[in-house]
Symmetry: C2
Subunit: 527 residues, 2 copies
Amino acid sequence: MFKKSTVEVLDTTLRDGSQTANIGFTLKDKIRIALELDQLGVDYIEGGWPGSNPKDKEFFSMIKKVSLSKSRIAAFGSTRRKDISAKGDVSLNSIIDSDVEVAVLFGKSWDLHVKDVIKSTLEENLEIVYDSIYYLKSHGLSVIFDAEHFYQGYIENSEYATKVIKTAQDAGADVIVLADTNGGTTPYEVFEITKSVSEQISVRLGVHMHNDIGCGVANSILAIKAGATHVQGTINGIGERTGNADLIQIIPTVFYKMGMNILNGEKSMVKLKEISRLVYELAGINPNPYQPYVGDNAFTHKAGVHVDAVMKIPRAYEHINPQMVGNRRKFVISEVSGTSNLVSYLKELGIELDKKDPRLKTALEMIKEKENTGYSFDIAPSSAVLIVFKALGIYQPFIKLDYWKVIGESSGLSIAVVKVNSELEVAEGVGPVHALDKAIRSALTKVYPEVSSIKLTDYRVILPGEVKNTESLVRVTIEFSDGTMVWKTEGVSTNVIEASVLALIDGLDYYLQVNKKIKGALSSLEV
Amino acid sequence: MFKKSTVEVLDTTLRDGSQTANIGFTLKDKIRIALELDQLGVDYIEGGWPGSNPKDKEFFSMIKKVSLSKSRIAAFGSTRRKDISAKGDVSLNSIIDSDVEVAVLFGKSWDLHVKDVIKSTLEENLEIVYDSIYYLKSHGLSVIFDAEHFYQGYIENSEYATKVIKTAQDAGADVIVLADTNGGTTPYEVFEITKSVSEQISVRLGVHMHNDIGCGVANSILAIKAGATHVQGTINGIGERTGNADLIQIIPTVFYKMGMNILNGEKSMVKLKEISRLVYELAGINPNPYQPYVGDNAFTHKAGVHVDAVMKIPRAYEHINPQMVGNRRKFVISEVSGTSNLVSYLKELGIELDKKDPRLKTALEMIKEKENTGYSFDIAPSSAVLIVFKALGIYQPFIKLDYWKVIGESSGLSIAVVKVNSELEVAEGVGPVHALDKAIRSALTKVYPEVSSIKLTDYRVILPGEVKNTESLVRVTIEFSDGTMVWKTEGVSTNVIEASVLALIDGLDYYLQVNKKIKGALSSLEV
């Protein structure tokens, strides 16, 4: 018998997550994600739908070759077709052929779908469910039965929906999963229905939620409160339409707020941000900065009163310590922020200042002025820090860009010519920004060899505003890293190349200011 | 006495929303948003915090000059400081000076904040709450009292938290709002606490939720279910950290799922997508395609089985009709999608094909091949449609790009030279893409004058993957419009300019294919 205080996790990032518009994983990506999910301590990894596409089939044969420490691999598929025996059903057999320990089988529990989508009868569908589960069980598989559209089915015909899951239980299903496939069930309905079902089912009860009314996470939490001990979802909530329930948000709430066991406990919690980032990267979509728990802004404070209070007592405006999910606290520099935010930034650089220092007020004025021209420093604080250094009088002019020019831009290579600190340099690259980056650095490395260790880790072009054209203002943000420190700068111009050059120069400049001189100069400053 | 079946909406996009990292509205933006909120039928518009910054003060004097049809403007502020009378408190007087009908006053209800943040006593804080409300009421204002951190306060000291809101009621507050300021309260706690409070309070009860554990929307819905009839939030859920509860998601659930009155009913619901977009645009952030109800993918179907079923019975995989919130259904073209998706695209263009047509299979193969090289057609379907036209044999070569070259790129203007359909053209522009766009069009307009009416409405550069550098593959997507039709294309290359040219050419080509020839050619085709 399963323990009521432990919640099992089935991750379907590789299957339901692959059904997201804009997202497609390569086979290599899928293997990498599976390995990370295993490290995280996920109980089941739903690897794909072997009956539906060849990439998924390959996944199952590849994953056999690696040894996993905890996770069990599951293959997804549908109950048998009507008018055919389970033994003769291609889809069921492809699950068996994929040679996994666990099958996730979805079947109909909403009478509308039985009658109007698969054009069967209510009685026949019960046989379909029974046969399909029985067949897989007799081949030695564990079977997780996903009752598709269960909540809607229950609301419209509770007797039939209940009959379907009882049939699945009778056929030997190990876990019965209630799915809100259309994602439109309200939280109070989810709680009541799950509670009622949990009193009628003796095997482990699970839930599979979608986010169509923005309640995917809360519905999962409420279902667990009502008795479910198995939860399905995806990393970052990727999935059909508005997505599946986001495991990244569910898991820490179950552990920290509900006090139940999940994954490998604390050891897993601190990895949540990291795995969230990996999946964004492989999916090729930008991380959501506002994502609960792991977003870059999840513990970012902007209003002056919040910053003041958090600096005294973090829990005044933080529901948990950000480190508990691998995240960190940030303060924003912007026109509405106060000098406290600047103070906290400078502190990280080893510069201790009082928030009433008049030079900080000057710095804020200069920042506001720049923001009026299209800059937004909260996304690229290092460009703002350069302004603060100027206001404090500790800025040193390491880089002087005399001019830059890109010549010979064609389908092939670009050639850039720059004059930096009176050094004339030329470089070629794939695209003008690449060529400029190379030319500027080769001019600088002569005097500052340390700039060669700087890597560009992200480059983005944004039109600030939705409806724009090629003549509009563009904002380029660049992220840099030297292996230990990460910093972001920005440039704004109507010309995308000029904006890129501004951000590039700021990034190199910031590095020199912070690492080469500022620290040494500190002792001689009245700070 | 208020009606239990009507839910009042207070929008705080202009106040709490302005506290979002990365977002800052201009005064003009704020006025425009207020006018749209009034049109939407919002009951209260919280315009700002007059005591905290000058931009907010200006807003209140500007908004007096326009006439609103329904909304009442509210000013936000804190209860009086300790050791000062209400009469002498700058913040309270700035609310009065802003000359609004309604004040939203926030005060402490969590004993931790009383003792450790404002360093007061529990008794003194009750006096602060009472005095502040009484003072504003005596100046003829309606007062909405926001009990900051109410849920946490209640969990740690329910007696005191309850005493605070009863004091507010005694002082004459018109609405008592329970705030989950840190956003960490679980849905079941919210339901229970709200229910218990609603039995003890006789004035209107409201809620103000944050999204730190991903439950902002569900918590608002549950609080309404438990008796609240006033809900606060922001458009798109913008706000401190992970944001406020998203009104765009709460409103349609209250109306369509809970069957309660809200805003101007159906008339307001169909405007939800439009106002969501406006706020994204003015905030300068990209719309979230996965946003419930209004996201571009909210009713986008990718899996073949889903598309098949939705084409027969929409409610099989849609919780409501997308038009009910001003959205629309879409099908995705991608490597995992089937030919049904292509059929539905072609149908929109007036081309009726059977999903078993072998040419569609060829088209899908060609699409998959391109996707392997970095394309992702679900974000730019028009580039995929061009491939389908080729597979169908109805593509006509209107545009032949002989070569392109950008010369003289410097801080000033770029000059582009192109040879298109044997026409040599030169143009200058701000940045290479702008120059190329102009040159290509001037070559084309000689033969196809209609291309001059095409506008570029969006231009984006994405590195598919998070950690990249200036040498990586880039994907450029461009959105075009001719005033009635909107279409999107993409180009992929290591060179951002080449990728832009590919997307530009595809966009002009698509327009010519669809509008100039395809329709005429249809009659002669075996389709």
